[in-house]
C-alpha cells in the first residue's frame, strides 16, 4: 500500500489550502468546511455516546447491578440516548455528507444560505456545549423520551437544561433542512432537472421536509416540559386535569418521523454506493425517489404505534397500527430495488460496498422486526422490552451508522484527496457487522422472553443472553475505533486519490479532489441521467 506518499506536487488550490488558521475555519461560509466542522464535532459526540453505551453493556454483564448505582445507570442510559439521537444520528449524514455533497451534486457553488449554514453549526455547538455541561453537572435521568410527569415533577436532575439543549439543537436541524430545500429548488445547475437529480438529493429533500415540519413540535414540547419544571404546573400535569399521554402524542409526532430523519439519508448514501460498485444505473429510479417522499409523508401518520399500551383508545390503536403497515411498503420497495440493481452488475466488494451490503442485511432485519411492533397482537408484549431496543438499534446503528461509515469511506477521497487502507477498511467493516449482530440479535430473544428495557438489575435467567450481547459490544467498539485510526492516518500516509478514484458517475466526481472553494471551475451543464454508468469505465479502478 501507499508507503511513499507522493511528495505533494504543487497542490492545486482547493477548499482546504485556500487559506489557513483557526479564524478561516470558524468564520467560513464554505459548505465543505462547515461539513468538516460538523464531522469533527459529531464524531466527538459519537464517542461520548459510545462511552455511555460501553458502561451500559458492562453493567448488564451481571444481573445484580453491581457496577454502578441505579441512579448512575439511569443517567448513563439517558445520556446515551440523548447524545446519540439528538447530537449524533439526526445531524450525522445530512450535516456532514449532505452539506458537503448536495451543492456539488447539483452543480452549485454553495448552499442557498451559506451564513445560515454556519449559524446552524454554531447553534449545534452551543447546544452540544450545554449538554456536555449537563453531563458534567450530574446528567439527566429521564431517558431520551422525557416522559411526563416523571420529567416535569419527579426527577431530581438537570431536566430543564437538557430540555433547553435539545430545544436549541432543534434549530440547527431546522436551518439545515430549510437550507437544503431551498438549495435543491433554486440552485440546480442548468440541465439538472428533478428527474436527473441523484437519489442522494431526493432522499435528503425528503429528510429536510421532515426536519422542517417535525422539529418545531419537539421544540415546543420540550419547552413546555421546561416551563412546567419551573412553574410547577403545566398542561401535562394530571393534578389539574392534564393528560401525560398528550405529551407522548406531541413527543412522538416528531420523534417517530425523526427515525426517518436518521434512515432516509442512509438510504441516500446506499443508492450512490450500490450503483457505483455495481457499475449500473439504479433499478427503478422513479420508484426509489418517490419511496423517499412516501416515507417522509406516511412517516408522519404512524406515531402512536409507540403508545399502544400507553392508555390511548383501542380505536386509535387500530388506526395507527394500520397506518404503520403502510409506511413499511416504501421501505420494502427500496430494499428490493437496491437488490435488483446488483443483478447483472459488475460488482466489486470494496469497503464502501461492504458497508452497503451490511446495511441492506441489517436494515432488512430491522424493518422486518418493525412489523412485529406494528402488530397489535404482539406489540403489547414486546413494547418497552429489549425487543424494541434491538429493533431500533438495527435501524439506527445497523442502518444509519453503517450507511454513515459507508458514505464516509466512499467520499473520503473526495473530501481529503487521500485513500485509506483498503485492508483495514474491510477488517473494520467485518468486525462491525459481526459485532453488531452478536450485540443485538440476542436482545430480540431477551425481549420476547420479557426483559424490560432500562433495567439496572435484572432476574438471573436473562444473564446468558446479556453476556453474549456485551461480548458483541466489545467487538463492535473495536470496530468503531479502527476507522478513526486508519482514516486519520490516511491524511498523512494515504495515497493521493485523484479526482475520481472509484470511476463514479456523480457531478461531485467531475471536479478535483479536494474540490476548489467554489466547487467547479465553471458551472457545469448537465445533459445526462443520474447513474449513467454506461458511459463510465466498466470496473472500479484500484488506487494505491
Amino acid at each position: 500500500m501507499a508507503t511513499t506518499a507522493v511528495a505533494n506536487p504543487v497542490e492545486r488550490e482547493n477548499y482546504l489550502n485556500t487559506n489557513y488558521g483557526i479564524k478561516s475555519w470558524l468564520l467560513t461560509t464554505d459548505h465543505k468546511r462547515i461539513a468538516i466542522l460538523y464531522l469533527i464535532s459529531i464524531t466527538l459526540m459519537f464517542f461520548i455516546g459510545g462511552f455511555f453505551a460501553t458502561l451500559i453493556r458492562l453493567e448488564l454483564l451481571t444481573p445484580q447491578g453491581d457496577l454502578m448505582t441505579a441512579d448512575t445507570y439511569n443517567k448513563v442510559f439517558s445520556m446515551h440516548g440523548i447524545v446519540m439521537v439528538f447530537f449524533f444520528l439526526i445531524p450525522s449524514i445530512p450535516a456532514t455528507l449532505g452539506n458537503f455533497l448536495i451543492p456539488m451534486m447539483i452543480g452549485a457553488k454553495d448552499l442557498a444560505f451559506p451564513r445560515i449554514n454556519l449559524l446552524s453549526w454554531y447553534i449545534y455547538i452551543v447546544s452540544a456545549c450545554l449538554l456536555i455541561y449537563v453531563i458534567v453537572n450530574g446528567g439527566v435521568d429521564t431517558g431520551w423520551t422525557f416522559y411526563t410527569p416523571f420529567s416535569t415533577t419527579y426527577s431530581n436532575t438537570n431536566v430543564f437544561l437538557a430540555g433547553i439543549a435539545i430545544f436549541i439543537n432543534g434549530f440547527s436541524s431546522i436551518l439545515t433542512g430549510l437550507n437544503f430545500i431551498v438549495t435543491l429548488h433554486r440552485m440546480r445547475a442548468p440541465g439538472m432537472t428533478w428527474s436527473r437529480l441523484p437519489l442522494f438529493c431526493w432522499s435528503h429533500y425528503a429528510t429536510s421536509v421532515i426536519q422542517v415540519l417535525g422539529t418545531p413540535v419537539i421544540a415546543i414540547t420540550l419547552a413546555l416540559v421546561a416551563i412546567e419544571r419551573v412553574w410547577h404546573i403545566g398542561i401535562f400535569d394530571p393534578k389539574v386535569g392534564g393528560d401525560p399521554v398528550l405529551f407522548q402524542h406531541m413527543f412522538w409526532f416528531y420523534s417517530h418521523p425523526a427515525v426517518y430523519i436518521m434512515i432516509l439519508p442512509s438510504m441516500a448514501v446506499m443508492s450512490e454506493i450500490i450503483t457505483c460498485f455495481s457499475r449500473k444505473r439504479i433499478f427503478g429510479y422513479a420508484f426509489v425517489a418517490l419511496a423517499s417522499i412516501g416515507i417522509a409523508v406516511i412517516g408522519f401518520l404512524v406515531w402512536a404505534h409507540h403508545m399502544f399500551v400507553a392508555g390511548i383508545s383501542a380505536y386509535a390503536a387500530l388506526v395507527f397500527s394500520l397506518l404503520s403497515y403502510f409506511v413499511a411498503v416504501p421501505s420494502a420497495i427500496k430494499v428490493f430495488n437496491w437488490t435488483a440493481t446488483m443483478y447483472k452488475g459488475n460488482i466489486s466488494l470494496r469497503t464502501p460496498m461492504l458497508y452497503a451490503l451490511g446495511f441492506i442485511g441489517l436494515f432488512t432485519i430491522g424493518g422486518m422486526t418493525g412489523l412485529f411492533l406494528a402488530c397489535l397482537g404482539i406489540d403489547p408484549h414486546v413494547t418497552d422490552t429489549y425487543f424494541v431496543v434491538a429493533h431500533f438499534h438495527f435501524i439506527m446503528v445497523g442502518g444509519a451508522v453503517m450507511a454513515y461509515l459507508g458514505g464516509i469511506h466512499f467520499w473520503w477521497p473526495k473530501m481529503t484527496g487521500r485513500m485509506y487502507s483498503e485492508i483495514w477498511g474491510k477488517v473494520a467493516a467485518f468486525l462491525i457487522f459481526a459485532g453488531f449482530n452478536l450485540t443485538f440479535l440476542p436482545q430480540f430473544i431477551l425481549g420476547y422472553a420479557g426483559m424490560p428495557r432500562r433495567y439496572h438489575a435484572y432476574v438471573p435467567e436473562y444473564q446468558v443472553l446479556n453476556v453474549l450481547s456485551t461480548a458483541g459490544a466489545s467487538i463492535l467498539a473495536l470496530g468503531y475505533l479502527l476507522p478513526l485510526i486508519y482514516l486519520l492516518s490516511s491524511l498523512r500516509n494515504g495515497a493521493i486519490a485523484g479526482d475520481n478514484p472509484w470511476a463514479a458517475q456523480g457531478l461531485e466526481w467531475k471536479t478535483s479532489s479536494p474540490p476548489p472553494t467554489f466547487n467547479f471551475e465553471e458551472t457545469p451543464v448537465v445533459t445526462w441521467e443520474a447513474y449513467d454508468y454506461e458511459q463510465m469505465p466498466k470496473e472500479v479502478p484500484v488506487v494505491s
Binding site: 454553495d110 451559506p114 433554486r186 440552485m187 413546555l224 412553574w231 393528560d243
Partner: protein, 231 residues
C-alpha cells in the same frame, strides 16, 4: 430579465453563489416561507393541546374565556391588523423605490407593536391581580354560582390559563422579535440601503410580521370570543 443595467446597479447586493438577482430573491423568499411553516408547526403544538383540552372541557373553557377582557383583545386585534396594513404598504413603496416612506411606515408598525405589547401587559397585570396566573400565583379557587353561593373552581381552569399565557406569551415574543427586526429594516431603509431592485429584506421581514398577525387572527376568537355571554 433583460434589465442587465439595473442588475449592474444592484451588483453589490448579489451574493457570490447566486447567478442572478432573481435567483437570490426567489431563494430568500422561499426560505422565508419555509421558515413560516416551521412557525406554524411550532404554534401547532400549542393549538393541538388547546384543541384536546377544549373538546374535553368546553364548560371550563367558556368559564376561562369570561375572564378575558373583550375590549382589550379587540383593540389589540385592530392594532395588529392596522400594523399589517402599514407593512403591506411599506413593501409597496419599497418596490417603487420610495424608501423614506417605507421607513416611516415601518416605524409606525413598530409603534403599533409596542402598543400591542403595552395592552397585553395591562391584561397580564389584571390576571395577576385576579389570581388567575397558573403556578404559585394562582389563588382563584372558588367560582361564584349564579345564585351567589360558591363552589370549587374546576381545576382544569388552570389548564385554560396556562395555555392562554403560553400561547399569548409566545406570540408576544414573536411580536417583540418583529419589532426589533422592523426597526432595523426601517433604519436601513431610511439610510437608503434598499432600492426598487433590491429590497427583499423589507419583503421577507414583512412576511414575518404578517405571520405574527395571522396567529393573532386565530388566537383572538379562540381565547376572547368563546365566552358564553348570553347564558
Amino acid at each position: 430579465m433583460s434589465a442587465s443595467t439595473t442588475e449592474a446597479v444592484a451588483q453589490h447586493s448579489l451574493q457570490h453563489h447566486f447567478a442572478t438577482m432573481e435567483q437570490q430573491r426567489q431563494s430568500t423568499t422561499l426560505g422565508m416561507w419555509i421558515f413560516l411553516v416551521t412557525e406554524i408547526m411550532f404554534f401547532g403544538g400549542l393549538f393541538t393541546a388547546y384543541l384536546v383540552y377544549r373538546t374535553a372541557h368546553p364548560d371550563v373553557w367558556e368559564m376561562g374565556s369570561q375572564h378575558m377582557e373583550f375590549w382589550l383583545g379587540t383593540i389589540n386585534t385592530v392594532i395588529l391588523l392596522t400594523s399589517s396594513f402599514f407593512v403591506a404598504l411599506s413593501v409597496h413603496y419599497a418596490q417603487r423605490g420610495m424608501t423614506k416612506i417605507t421607513a416611516l411606515l415601518l416605524f409606525l408598525t413598530v409603534l403599533c407593536g409596542i402598543g400591542f405589547l403595552g395592552i397585553k401587559a395591562v391584561e397580564y397585570h389584571n390576571h395577576y391581580k385576579e389570581g388567575t396566573v397558573p403556578g404559585p400565583w394562582w389563588h382563584y379557587n372558588q367560582v361564584e354560582n349564579p345564585d351567589g353561593t360558591t363552589r370549587p373552581a374546576p381545576h382544569e381552569l388552570q389548564l385554560f390559563f396556562y395555555l392562554y399565557f403560553v400561547m399569548t406569551g409566545l406570540h408576544a415574543l414573536h411580536v417583540t422579535i418583529g419589532i426589533v427586526l422592523l426597526a432595523l429594516i426601517g433604519l436601513w431603509a431610511w439610510q437608503g440601503k434598499y432600492t426598487a431592485e433590491y429590497h427583499n429584506p423589507v419583503h421577507i421581514s414583512g412576511l414575518y410580521w404578517h405571520f405574527v398577525d395571522l396567529v393573532w387572527i386565530f388566537l383572538y376568537p379562540l381565547l376572547y370570543l368563546i365566552a358564553n355571554k348570553h347564558a
